[in-house]
Structures are given as structure tokens and as C-alpha cells.
Amino acid sequence: MKKILTILVAVLAGLFVILSLLDLKGDYRVEQLVWSNNQKLAVAAKNQETTSEKTFESIAANYRKIIKSFPNSRLVPGINLLLGQTYVAGKSFDKARQVFAETCKKYPDNKALCSEALVLTGKTYQEEKNVSMAVKTFEQIMRQYPLTDGGLMMPLYIAKYHQFNNHGQAAALAYTQAIAHYKKIISENQNSVIEFKALGLLAGAYSDIEQWQPAMETFGESLLKYPDPRTAGVIFKSINFISLVKLQNKDAAIKLYQNILKEKPSHPLAKVIEKMIKSLETLKDADAKVFLKN
């Protein structure tokens, strides 16, 4: 009995050792190391003021070590960005920008990565309150990588940035440009995920400048063309919020939903839309007023 139990324990231990050794240089190992270092970075970034420069240097050194030990891992490009972000957290902005630039130089074909590196570069200028360089960098992303997530986000981001810094005129101009930019992107990228993303950003831009009717119509267009249950919830909420709270006009949403069903009777979310219409009609019949809860 003891012999058999010893064999069973040996099988478990042996298998564990063999399987661990077989994947010693694999991506899973990299994920473990990166995750562990990310934890340290999160703590250091949270206590930025009290964390010493040495700690950030040590975290950066860990990332460099991972990059050196696993040069062929597909995670290395992303780790380069984490290395840069470590310098950002440690407020060594010049070093951070250098890392981001080197990353893009190393992987020029990886547009998403380069766009992300530039977004992070722009944010370093933002942290330094260097408005002109920040905006210049953000505009560079728009020009060079217009269809990446960063590139798509930038027009609205720039507008929000100006608005946040109370640059009234610049913000108004940036919103007008953003709306025009998204309209162009939508017309050039029909029936694609780019169009879906641009529709969301366009609706966001309209909402920011309180143009509620076009904002609601844009959400409606998105719901009509991209009936994905994973994203529909947010869109329904946005439409109802604009109609009930901002426009105080239940008919606006009812009409929009009815138009969607008219244009696409076989809409995958038809039943939900019908329910929504019924609920709105009930509210309308009761003459209910909807307000934001403070």
C-alpha cells in the first residue's frame, strides 16, 4: 500500500516538474513574471509621491530583464510599453518618451502598438502641462494611425482635453473638427467595426456639446446597423437617457425605435425594442417625468 501511494505521489510530482520544465520559456511564464512586476508597479504608482526613484528603477530593470530573457515572446512589444509606463509613473518623462519612441522604431509595422506608444507619449506632455506638444502628438496619431483605437479616439480626446483646460474656442473648434472627422471615417468605412467605433465616438462628441437630437440619432444608427447584445445595453440606456432626461420627450425615443423596426423588421433585438416602446408608451400615458437622482 505504501509503495503504491509513493508511486502515486511520485507521478503527481514528476508530472508537475516535467510540465513546468517543458514550458519554462513559454509565454505563460512571461505572463507570470510580467503580472508579478505589474503588481509592484501598481503599488508604486498608487503611492507615487512616497515611492523612491530607486523602486521605479528596480521595476523598470525587471521589465528589461524579462525582455532580455524572452526576446521571442509575442508579449515583448507590450512589455516595452509597460517599461515606458514605469518611467511615467516615476515622473521620468524624458526616459519614458525615449522608450516609447524606441518601441515604435523596433516594431514599425505594428500600428496598434505605435499608436498606443504615441498616445502614451502625448500623455507625458499632458502631465508636464505642455499643451502644444501634447496636441501636436495627438494630431500626429490622427494623421499616422487614423484607424487604430488611439487614432479613432484622438479627435474627441483633443476636444475633451481643450474643454477640460477651459480652452473655450479651441474646444469648440476641436469638437466641430471631431464631428466632421468621424462623419468622414463613417462614410469611408461602411459596414465595419471601424464604422461602429466611429458611430460611438460621434455620438459621444454630440453628447459633450449637448446636441442631444443628433446624439440620439447616432446611437439609433449604431443600434440599427450593429445589433450586438453585448453593446446594445449601453446604447439603449443612452437613447432612453437622452430622450427622457435631456429632451424630456418620450416620443423622440419611441419614434426612433419604431423607425428601427420599420427599417429592419427582422432586427435581432426586435423583441427588446418592442418592449422598450411599450415601456416608454406606459410612461407617456402616465405623463411621468424623469429626473436624474442626485
Binding site: L8, L12, Q39
Partner: protein, 291 residues
Amino acid sequence: MAKTSAGKNVLILLRNSLNTLVAHPVIFFPLCITVFLQLLVLEILYFAPRWPLSVFFGPVIRKLFGEGFLHFPYNFQLIQHLFFYCQIPLYLFVDVFLVAVAIGIVVAINNDKPANPKIIFKKILPQYIHIFAAALLTFLTTLIIIQGYDLLFARALRIRSETGIFFMIKSVIVYGRPYFGLLIDIFISAIFLYIVPLIVIEKLKIQKAFLQNFSYLKRAFLFTLGIVFIPTLVYIPVIMLRSIVSAGDLALKVPIMQAAVIILSILVKLFVEAVILTSVTTYYFLTKENK
């Protein structure tokens, strides 16, 4: 083996069972094989996202659960679910049979015969189909009751009250879920407790064992419930630990804790199962002798 005259005193019976287990660790042997199989499954699940196992498991996990669960540390969240599902066939096809072998060993010890697991295994093997049927019966009953609880759980989630009696009901049902699960397990185990010993000792078929089980239960339901309930209390700290690990950020900060809790629960279950099966077999012999 120490034969007690304590009759219906659950605590004395359990203490004697513990003494029996200490004196005859061979009873643990079949249960150790169950533990080995469970740990083997856990080990395979742990390495599933890594090469070479990822060649097979990668596409399956990606298709069924999503890419995220192939990466550290989110794979640990999936391990818990997958391990639960893997336990079902293990329980039905292997676990209960090995419990039956352990009962056979207790029987042999009671009859002062050599407790050779290999011989007992061969002796019980012809009863496999009936033991499997008993396992299936227990499993399906548990499943039906759990489904019923899930309906209650879903209804409780819809309670909007933030104070008062309804809020209390909601809190008890929602936060007490693991404890209700344990109570359901205890109740079902107690209800069918004598079926496997009857199949092993009296060589009965499942139908007869099922009926006789209830005549035993009728005579001593609370006592039977006590045999299952008291040792299972040891499992409560494991449930608490599991709740702490999954509710707090411990699962995120130390992901390996999720696997460690599973290992701990396997080991605690081994102990609980050993005590229950020894107690119920001993009690069965005592009542038979008294007759």
C-alpha cells in the same frame, strides 16, 4: 476494531470511527486513489493553458470560455469551474466505487478478516453497476434540489429592498449559498447513506438496497443525519476560506490561492468521507448484532 455498546450516541460512534481509522489506515487507501485522481485532474487543468497541453486544451478553452482564460492569472478562475465539472464523472464512475471498496475494508476489519484492498476490490467489482446507480441517484437528487435553490436564488436577486425583512431574506439566500449547498449535500448524503453499505455488505441490488435504506432511515433518521452532519462541520472553514479568497482581492493578488483552496477541500473531503463511511458501516454492524 473497537466495538462500542454506545448504540445511538453519535459522538461515541464518531470517536470510535476515528480510532478505527488511526488503527487501520488501510481504510484511507481507496480514498487516496480518489484524491490522486482529483489532484491529477487539477494538475492537468493547471497546465492546460501551457505547452504542450495547450495544443489540445487551448482551442477548446478559447471556443467555450474565451481567450482570456488561457492567460495568467485568469486561468485560475476557470480552473475552479472546470474542476467542478470534472468532478461529476469522477464521482459517478470512480469515487463512489472506491468509497464502496473502503466500506469493504471496514467490513473486513469488523469481521477480523485480512483487509487487502486488492482482494476487496475484486470482490466488489461485480456490484459496480448497482454502486454506479446509487451514485447516479444521489447525484440527480442533489442536482434537482440545487436547481430548486437556484430558482430561489434568482428570485432573491430580484428583491430590491435595501432594508427590512425582504432584504434579510435576500442576504441569507444570496450570501448563504455555499452553506445551503453544504446543507443540501448533508441532507442528501444522509437520506441515501445506507444504500452503498447495503450493496457492499448484503450484496443487494440497487432497488432492494434503496428500499432497505429507508427502513434503516426510518428507525434512526436523526442519528444518521448526525453521522453525516458532525464530521462535515470540519468543511465549514474551507467554505469560509473559499469565500474570502473569491470575494476579496486575494484571488487577484495571489492567484495560486484559488488552486490551494481546491487542494485543501480535496484533503478535508478525504477525511470527512473516511469518518462517515467508517461510522455508518460500524453502526450498520452494531444494529445488525443487536437484532
